[in-house]
């Protein structure tokens, strides 16, 4: 491992801001966090929003003061911090999912999923793509095998099915978000993804509020509208395309059809991820997965949009770029080989 690599992993702070996209996104996020309370108070003072609405907005804002640094700081600090943060996020998301579905009562299955997530995180830290990919079928098989050991055939399919779904979403799926950190351009790529996926939710909310009332999926998520969904696609797609143009400047991905497809992918899969977890909540009859962030719910309620986006963007970028994500960096950092 070279000194430059070690630097990128642990102390990337000065170089993190080298890319213009990083500078722009970081500045925008800071500006939004500074200006939001001023704007909300001004709107409340002018009577354009009611006190109850102002309190709700401020509650969400205060949660964002915690969520935004949680998302940005590890990425700025270095690749290993990013991978560890994604690993912890995966485990916490799994915890919320398991407690909501009752899977946590199946201790052996739960332990296997947790070990699977830990192994995924280690394989990402090792930059060992072969093992990272192999863990999918290996962990799924192990979940099924450990469920057999309990010798309780009744409910076997449900236990294994939930365990596999949890691992594929939070272990393998979110693991792709961490794997981006093995690329030399991981800071702008990840900030672009985090920024646009979160903004996609905001665009959907704003478009839905102002443009129409026809429901998108009333049984799954009663507040989402078709206008909101289309508005999010129309706003997020060009934003992603423009940012990705600068992030992937001069590469095979830097042509309009790929950039637009990437934007569509972020917007559509972001919304589908949201609906996916909403379906789980409706099925269980719960409103939120947890009460971690006031105004938002649990981690899963906040990060649900990333779950489908991360693997899809990872593989699309890897498919278009000649050598894929992280190909310019040394591999098997921990295991040698």
């Amino acid at each position: 491992m070279t000194a430059a690599n070690r630097h990128r992993m642990f102390f990337n702070l000065p170089e993190a801001f080298a890319h213009p996209v990083t500078k722009v996104l970081f500045t925008v996020v800071c500006a939004v966090l500074v200006l939001t309370p001023i704007i909300v108070r001004a709107l409340a003072a002018s009577g354009k929003i009611k006190p109850a609405h102002r309190d709700e907005l401020m509650k969400r804002y205060r949660s964002w003061l915690i969520i935004a640094p949680m998302m940005i700081v590890p990425v700025i600090l270095g690749s290993y911090w990013t991978i560890c943060a994604v690993g912890v996020l995966s485990l916490l998301c799994y915890r919320e999912f398991a407690r909501a579905t009752g899977l946590f009562r199946q201790k052996l299955v739960s332990l296997t999923v947790v070990l699977g997530i830990v192994l995924v995180t280690l394989s990402v830290m090792d930059h060992w793509y072969g093992f990272f990919v192999a863990l999918g079928p290996l962990v799924v098989g192990t979940i099924a095998a450990t469920a057999v050991l309990a010798d309780r055939p009744r409910g076997f399919i449900q236990r294994v099915g939930l365990g596999v779904l949890a691992f594929m979403l939070f272990g393998s799926g979110l693991g792709h978000l961490g794997y981006f950190a093995n690329d030399s351009q991981f800071v702008p790529i990840l900030l672009m993804l985090l920024f646009t996926v979160e903004l996609n939710d905001v665009f959907a909310y704003m478009s839905g509020k102002s443009l129409g009332h026809r429901k998108l999926a009333p049984q799954t998520s009663p507040n989402k509208t078709i206008a909101g969904s289309i508005g999010a696609i129309l706003l997020t797609t060009p934003l992603v395309a423009i940012l990705a143009h600068f992030v992937f400047l001069g590469t095979a991905l830097d042509i309009p059809r790929h950039l637009v497809f990437l934007g569509l992918m972020v917007s559509v899969l972001g919304q589908l991820g949201d609906l996916l977890l909403s379906s789980v909540k409706r099925d269980l009859g719960i409103k939120d997965f947890a009460a971690t962030f006031p105004g938002h719910g649990g981690l899963l309620d906040r990060f649900d949009s990333l779950i489908l986006v991360a693997p899809a963007v990872f593989h699309y970028v890897g498919y278009i770029l000649p050598y894929g994500i992280g190909a310019d960096q040394p591999t098997r950092l921990l295991t040698g080989g």
Binding site: V114, Q158, R159, L284, I286
Partner: protein, 239 residues
């Protein structure tokens, strides 16, 4: 055989401190590992430092639901009883502990919930609602409780009168209640001492009692308390 139930945790959505103090608290993976590690260590400690001996081991329950009811003279009592329960049941066995002692601060609550797996009983306001919740959980989840019906530790080593509270949990149910007598814990760690002395501890486990014919009213609760007190005193008189 247990059917699959797509059922959220009963403590879902509670803030951390409330969750730790909730009678509906359910253990996650980390807590389960904490409980097993803690009870294995306690068992090793009791064997080596107090030369723990169990008499009537065959009377210990093989599965839930059940209640272990014993005399109370030391903080060691709950440790002895819980560590003697079969390992596979241990995560589902809850010592009922004084809320104002074991759950009064967040740190105490983390220890009591994360390691002891205790559920709180607030002595100053232990209302019927709390008893109903304990009763419901015992029946629904087939779990185990460790209860000290005297309500507090004896200050002179003698067994005090059993209170009727336990009756509110088991009267009219088919839940077996197992009387237990703890000998030597008062000498090892009486209420006024902070550090345990290396005294021998003996746990006598009696035959289980059923109170399904008892009415779930004050008279029934008193009957439960009297029968259990008699059972524990009988065990105490065995040589």
């Amino acid at each position: 055989m247990e059917d699959w139930k797509l059922e959220p945790a009963h403590d879902l959505g509670l803030p951390m401190t409330e969750r730790l103090r909730s009678l509906r608290r359910e253990s996650g993976l980390v807590e389960t590992i904490g409980h097993h590690g803690f009870w294995a260590s306690v068992r090793a400690y009791l064997k080596s430092w107090h030369r723990l001996r169990i008499e009537g081991r065959e009377n210990l329950p093989a599965e839930g639901p059940f209640v272990l009811a014993a005399n109370h003279s030391s903080h060691l009592d709950a440790l002895v009883l819980a560590s003697c329960v079969p390992a596979r049941l241990r995560d589902n066995v809850f010592p009922i502990a004084a809320g104002d002692t074991f759950f009064n601060t967040p740190v105490n609550a983390i220890f009591a919930a994360g390691f002891l797996n205790a559920l709180p009983m607030w002595r100053k306001h232990a209302g019927p609602q709390a008893m109903r919740e304990l009763r419901q959980r015992l029946v629904d989840e087939a779990c185990g409780y460790i209860i000290f019906p005297e309500g507090t530790r004896t200050r002179d080593g003698t067994i005090n009168r059993f209170k009727a509270g336990l009756g509110m949990v088991v009267a009219g149910t088919r839940v077996p209640v197992i009387p237990c007598y703890l000998k030597g814990t008062f000498q090892a760690l009486p209420p006024h001492r902070a550090v345990p002395r290396p005294r021998k501890i003996i746990l006598r486990v009696g035959k289980s009692l059923l109170f399904d014919t008892c009415d779930n009213d004050r008279a029934g609760w008193e009957r439960v308390a009297q029968a259990l007190e008699a059972g524990v005193r009988e065990l105490a008189q065995e040589s």
